[in-house]
């Protein structure tokens, strides 16, 4: 058996470990500094969305969407996935024009999941939407899942596939050995493996830096708010064309509002906190698009920390300084949906050095300044 280590117990680390453990010949250990799902993986909005993806992400996202439709087959649990659709509303004719151009562009590339709908159809899909909404882009079989449940399902599946998960272990160093393996030093002794995955989220660039590789990357601490329970009034997850919004009603009746509004992030302390000034903006947008929530009460708010490269797209690829180390991080607030497919791609890269899955656009070489 060949040994592999996955660093980071978020959803991408778990998915990578799961897929690699199901590849014959690999023995996988996952190291997590705190506990599985500690940061953004367990607390994100749970959007299972192809709609509005940056063009280089669409191919991977489409494959991931197929995996989500059969998520029970992958991890033995439905992860709370509901294909209730995703709708991005247009609030003006300018928005509509933008939407039509966008969908034309996506269709020209051969993808048909995004669809422009008119005011009649958007009101049928979202009876509670404000009267000023003029239309939307819709992906009907997108949806949402329960992030914490998803993390736990991936964990269980990974363990059943033979992954050893070790929590409370922090990586302190990475280096090549004379035998061609990688030694991973931790605060609780060294590990050794032939392949290592860097799925450490916001802290992944720091691990890359330990091997002398600089990958430009910032952090994100997207904020979420949740209301008390309301009677059911909306099925799909809703966004807006020109404004930052993510809005959905859970099965429990609570309304979860996000949209990438940023909290305060303290990477060293591994915490992030809510900034209500910017959350107020999200609340205002939500109440304008769904007037019925204006009087609803917020019961909680939270943030989760993750990595964000300058172009808001992930870094997936082998290290340029330490062969055998593979990066997978920087999903920039939209990695939840990609996780089943991205994990499969990284596992394949680790096992055989190549993959047919469409992750080529995400190598860190895109940040290299030409000499």
């Amino acid at each position: 058996m060949k040994k592999a280590l996955v660093i980071g117990g978020g959803l991408h680390g778990l998915s990578t470990a799961l897929h690699l453990a199901r590849t014959p010949g690999w023995q996988v250990t996952l190291l997590e500094r705190r506990h599985v799902g500690r940061h953004s993986s367990g607390v994100n909005a749970g959007g299972v969305r192809r709609l509005g993806r940056a063009l280089p992400e669409i191919a991977l996202s489409v494959i991931a969407a197929e995996m989500w439709q059969n998520i029970t087959a992958l991890v033995g649990d439905d992860c709370g996935f509901r294909a209730t659709g995703q709708v991005k509303v247009a609030e003006s004719t300018a928005d509509m024009a933008k939407n039509e151009a966008r969908v034309a562009q996506v269709r020209a590339l051969g993808w048909s999941h995004e669809e422009v709908v008119d005011q009649v159809e958007v009101r049928r899909l979202l009876p509670a939407v404000s009267r000023h909404v003029v239309g939307a882009i819709v992906t009907r079989d997108d949806g949402s899942a329960d992030p914490m449940r998803t993390v736990m399902a991936f964990r269980r599946a990974a363990e059943q596939a033979g992954v050893t998960i070790v929590e409370g272990v922090a990586v302190t160093g990475l280096e090549a050995t004379a035998e061609g393996t990688i030694r991973v030093d931790t605060d609780q002794g060294p590990y050794e493996a032939e392949r290592v995955a860097n799925c450490a989220g916001a802290w992944a660039p720091d691990l890359a830096a330990l091997t002398g590789e600089t990958i430009p990357c910032g952090t994100k601490a997207s904020m979420m708010i949740v209301t008390e329970r309301l009677p059911p009034f909306v099925d799909p997850t809703v966004g807006a064309t020109a404004r930052a919004l993510s809005f959905k009603q859970t099965a429990a009746g609570t309304v979860v509002i996000g949209g990438g509004h940023q909290g305060r992030n303290d990477k060293a302390a591994e915490t992030s906190t809510v900034l209500f000034g910017s959350l107020a903006h999200a609340a205002r947008i939500a109440a304008e698009i769904f007037p019925c929530v204006a009087q609803a009460r917020i019961v909680r708010s939270w943030t989760g920390t993750e990595a964000r490269p300058p172009d808001d797209m992930p870094v997936i690829g082998e290290s340029r300084t330490l062969p055998g180390l593979f990066h997978s991080f920087g999903f920039s607030g939209h990695g939840f949906q990609l996780s089943p497919a991205a994990g499969a791609a990284v596992a394949e890269l680790m096992a055989r050095g190549a993959t047919n899955l469409p992750v080529a656009p995400f190598t860190q070489d895109r940040f290299t300044v030409p000499a």
Binding site: M152, L275, F276, A283, A286, A287, A294, R297, I298, S301
Partner: protein, 452 residues
């Protein structure tokens, strides 16, 4: 120097009094329409029951507190009906909501949190029926509105508040169907000696007991509550006596409470660390003897800083204000400071004995049936919480994430204590080992529109 006092109860009143004495005009924020606190809860204007009828043996204290409250209001920036729902400690700013509508921000240099306490509950089958309330709620209804929770309520729990509530109901004309105390007589007797540190209070407590007996109220000790029965309201309480015999006591309402827990969410959001106080069986924000938190500029007093009762709250409120004044190099009364420190030391010994005499029945909570709702906001049963424990939730925050316990309107303020007991038992660890629910703003629900 912007000093903000949050809370208009006994601790807040005495803190403000010292600040005003030193020539400071604090901003004074109170969540309710008036100050006075809970144990000395004040009725709205126009209600005619006098202090003696409302507060019994505490009438003198209540009268003095209310007089100071009224004298201080015009000498401070008094802001009633104002909820502090978030703190940005980095910027020293409070987020407030006034009259449920007006959003505000209040900057501070020093912050004195006197945020009070609430009852601890023990979930029972039927505890979410209409007609079931906390002992604190039952008291507030009587004192503030002149209404009782019922004409023949059963009062269940332990601690001085149990007897006090029973007596207040009896005096107000209700006939309590039974007073059911989960603590046995021996435990009370064993720690009773420690309460000699405050003889007047001990005697007042014993006086309550005697008066209840005189009024023919049935008192039962060392009982186990089994269930509250009813369909649209409460009709009876099922319980078991010390001899393991089961009883059904018909009643029209239930008040329940097992001591108090600090309402310390604001201290949490201010970044104050918490320690588990094994005597109180509560998580308590850290502070020194003067009430200084380890976060610069933050002071804590009253039951919100660890349960001490009304007398301690008054002393600690004054003491915290003197600490804030001293730290800001403003004049503070050294003699008074020394006097307060001495009294607070004595009171702590008394309080320790009191808490030991009336323990929270964590064992009963831990044994709760799987079908009983622990979290009433999200309707999560003890069984579901135990399933979360089995699915690798070694502490309460992850149990919350897996099970939704503590995610609802109350944010775990009510269910936190019993949930920790259930979880600890399921994991075979001690209660402090499962930790404490991390605070998340808003402290209480805030309308979306007001945030926007």
């Amino acid at each position: 120097m912007r000093i903000v006092v949050v809370g208009g109860g006994p601790a807040g009143i005495r803190a403000v009094e010292q600040l005003v004495r030193a020539g400071v005009t604090p901003i004074w924020i109170e969540e309710g329409p008036d100050g006075g606190g809970r144990i000395t809860q004040r009725p709205p204007p126009g209600f005619t029951r006098d202090h003696a009828a409302l507060y019994g043996a505490d009438a003198g204290r209540a009268r003095r507190l209310h007089a100071t409250l009224d004298a201080m209001k015009p000498r401070t920036d008094w802001r009633p009906d104002t909820l502090v729902w978030n703190i940005r400690p980095q910027d020293k700013v409070l987020h407030t909501l006034t009259n449920g509508a007006a959003q505000g921000e209040v900057a501070y240099d020093a912050l004195i949190l006197c945020t009070g306490a609430m009852d601890r509950v023990l979930p029972l089958p039927g505890w979410t029926l209409p007609g079931v309330t906390t002992l604190g709620g039952a008291q507030v209804a009587l004192k503030s509105q002149g209404v009782g929770i019922g004409a023949n309520p059963v009062l269940i729990g332990t601690g001085p508040l149990l007897w006090l509530t029973a007596l207040q109901y009896a005096k107000a004309g209700a006939k309590p169907a039974a007073v059911l105390d989960t603590t046995d007589f021996l435990t009370k007797a064993r720690f009773g000696a420690g309460m000699l540190w405050n003889l007047p209070t001990l005697l007042r407590g014993m006086g309550l007991f005697a008066q209840l007996k005189l009024r023919g109220v049935k008192l039962h000790e060392d009982i186990t509550p089994l269930a509250i029965e009813g369909v649209d309201g409460v009709t009876a309480v099922h319980w078991r006596d010390a001899a393991w015999k089961e009883h059904v006591t018909p009643c029209d309402a239930v008040g329940m409470g097992w001591g108090l827990k600090p309402e310390a969410q604001l201290a949490d959001l201010a970044g104050v660390p918490f320690d588990y106080d094994a005597t109180q069986q509560n998580w308590v924000p850290r502070k020194d003897v003067a009430g200084r938190a380890p976060v610069a500029g933050v002071y804590l007093a009253g039951d919100g800083a660890g349960i001490g009762g009304v007398e301690v709250a008054e002393l600690a409120g004054a003491r915290a204000a003197l600490a804030a004044l001293g730290d800001a190099h403003l004049p503070s009364d050294m003699a008074l400071t020394q006097h307060l420190d001495g009294r607070l030391r004595t009171e702590r010994r008394f309080r320790k004995a009191l808490e030991q005499a009336f323990p929270y029945p964590a064992k009963l909570a831990a044994r709760m049936e799987d079908s009983t709702s622990v979290c009433r906001c999200e309707v999560i049963t003890a069984g579901e919480l135990r399933a979360a424990a089995a699915a690798d939730a070694p502490e309460v925050n992850r149990a919350k994430a897996f099970s939704r316990v503590g995610m609802g309107r109350c944010q775990g303020r009510l269910c936190g204590t019993p949930a920790a007991a259930v979880l600890a038992k399921a994991l075979s660890v001690e209660v402090p080992e499962v930790g404490r629910l991390r605070g998340q703003p808003p402290v209480k629900p805030v309308p979306l529109q007001q945030v926007g």
